[in-house]
């Protein structure tokens, strides 16, 4: 930021009748600091008449003020004029420092100046950091050598499902009427779970289903997802748990 401003100043100085583009400045304080620096003015003792004239000149060079964007610049102009009028009041004695009408503005400018300097340093750090690229997606987990991972075929799935159904029948699935679940919704739910959890133990999920109907729907939803190649299902051994992953950018290849 600091360097930008200096370059901006030099650029503007190149032209005899310079024109200040307000959009170069982040706000009225930014413009004011620029003018103060240009005039080599001590921030602690601003000749308010000089700086007010400079500031108003900048605004007047514009053909029209965009009130949406530049209302704050006008507000500052009003503040400057107000301070100037305060300073012009005839006084018998010089004002004590704490009653100086410029005091508030000076405080604001000093703090703003510090912020701009911090921005300049942070900008450099951002530039440095922009050369470091970090990964944005999760890399695949390595395949373990101990278990023979196999991408589940539809047959495997079906077989597992029906054996599970037999087991489940004994456990009495509550058949709740009226709660109909669509495959589409189930597919959405499975995908959402996978987005949350990255890996889903399907048999575990299956047995969490409240009704038999839901369980069946969830099974067919998984089949649909596999067919659409949206998920990857891997079974470590037949009748063992089926692990489901979302297919992401990185395709995992089973053995």
């Amino acid at each position: 930021m600091a360097t930008n401003k200096i370059m901006g100043a030099v650029l503007l100085e190149d032209r005899p009748q310079y024109e200040v583009r307000l959009d170069v400045f982040e706000g009225p304080l930014d413009l004011l600091l620029f003018l103060i620096r240009k005039k080599k003015i001590d921030v602690h003792n601003i000749p308010i008449a000089v700086i007010t004239r400079e500031y108003l000149d900048c605004l007047q060079r514009k053909e029209r003020i965009n009130l949406d964007r530049e209302a704050e610049f006008l507000l500052m102009a009003a503040l400057l004029i107000h301070i100037k009028s305060q300073m012009l009041l005839p006084r018998e004695e010089p004002l004590p420092e704490e009653e100086d009408p410029r005091r508030f503005l000076v405080g604001q400018l000093l703090e703003y100046q510090k912020i701009k300097a911090a921005c300049a340093i942070l900008k450099e750090k951002e530039d440095e950091q922009s050369l470091f690229w970090t990964r944005e997606g999760l890399p695949p987990l390595a395949e373990t050598d101990e278990v023979d991972l196999a991408e589940v075929s539809l047959f495997d799935l079906a077989e597992t499902f029906f054996s599970l159904m037999k087991r489940k029948e004994g456990e009495n699935f509550r058949l709740v009427k009226g709660k109909s679940v669509s495959i589409e919704n189930k597919m959405k739910e499975i995908v959402r779970l996978l987005e949350e959890e990255s890996v889903l133990d399907f048999l575990d999920y299956f047995s969490r289903q409240e009704t038999l109907e839901e369980a069946i729907v969830s099974f067919f939803s998984l089949l649909e997802l596999i067919k659409a190649r949206l998920v990857l299902a891997i079974q470590e051994q037949l009748f063992h748990s089926i692990k489901v992953w979302l297919r992401k950018d990185v395709a995992r290849k089973g053995k």
Partner: protein
């Protein structure tokens, strides 16, 4: 073959998309003595800083994360077909540094410091998750208050708020600006 601790830590740093904090590392490695974890971590960092590698482990945002080496940037950008990494606007940078130094801070306090309305910039920063709302101030109107996030730290390669530019660094910049003023 059981991997040794250093290798395990390498895999954990690698798998973390956000910087891996020492706390999380120790939690995941609760079965090892903390002192050993620390030593192995130091060892790992050392081996990366010494070797000439295309990737490195950087300490940022309160933890450790893998990144490509700066020198490889031109080819990385060519591979990803990205002209350059997006950077923050001047307004965003200004607002962020105000929040960073003055947090917790309200929207109107930010406005007072910047001299301009900052609500649009706040929205952008919230969306980029560089800042977050942390509650309300117990002052009249009970305005929302903002803080910077770890993502903010990581964006600038800072490890903690203590790494923000110091008074001395700021004074130095201000001094330089004075001496390099343009001639009238």
């Amino acid at each position: 073959m059981t991997p040794d601790l250093k290798e395990i830590i390498e895999s954990l740093v690698f798998i973390s998309l956000e910087p891996l904090t020492p706390e999380k590392l120790k939690e995941a490695l609760a079965d090892f003595p903390a002192a050993e974890v620390e030593e192995a971590l130091r060892d790992l960092l050392h081996s990366y800083s010494a070797g000439s590698r295309g990737i490195q482990i950087i300490q940022t945002g309160g933890g450790y994360v893998f990144s490509t080496r700066a020198e490889c940037d031109p080819w990385v950008r060519r591979l990803l077909k990205i002209d350059r990494k997006s950077k923050l606007s001047g307004a965003a940078l200004e607002t962020l540094s105000i929040i960073a130094y003055h947090q917790p801070i309200t929207s109107s306090e930010i406005q007072a410091l910047r001299g301009v309305d900052s609500s649009y910039t706040l929205k952008t920063l919230l969306e980029k998750r560089m800042i977050r709302i942390v509650g309300r101030k117990s002052s009249p109107g009970r305005p929302l208050i903002y803080r910077t996030t770890d993502r903010f730290l990581a964006h600038f390669g800072l490890n903690s708020l203590e790494d923000l530019p110091t008074e001395e660094e700021i004074a130095k910049i201000l001094g330089e600006e004075k001496t390099s003023e343009p001639e009238p």
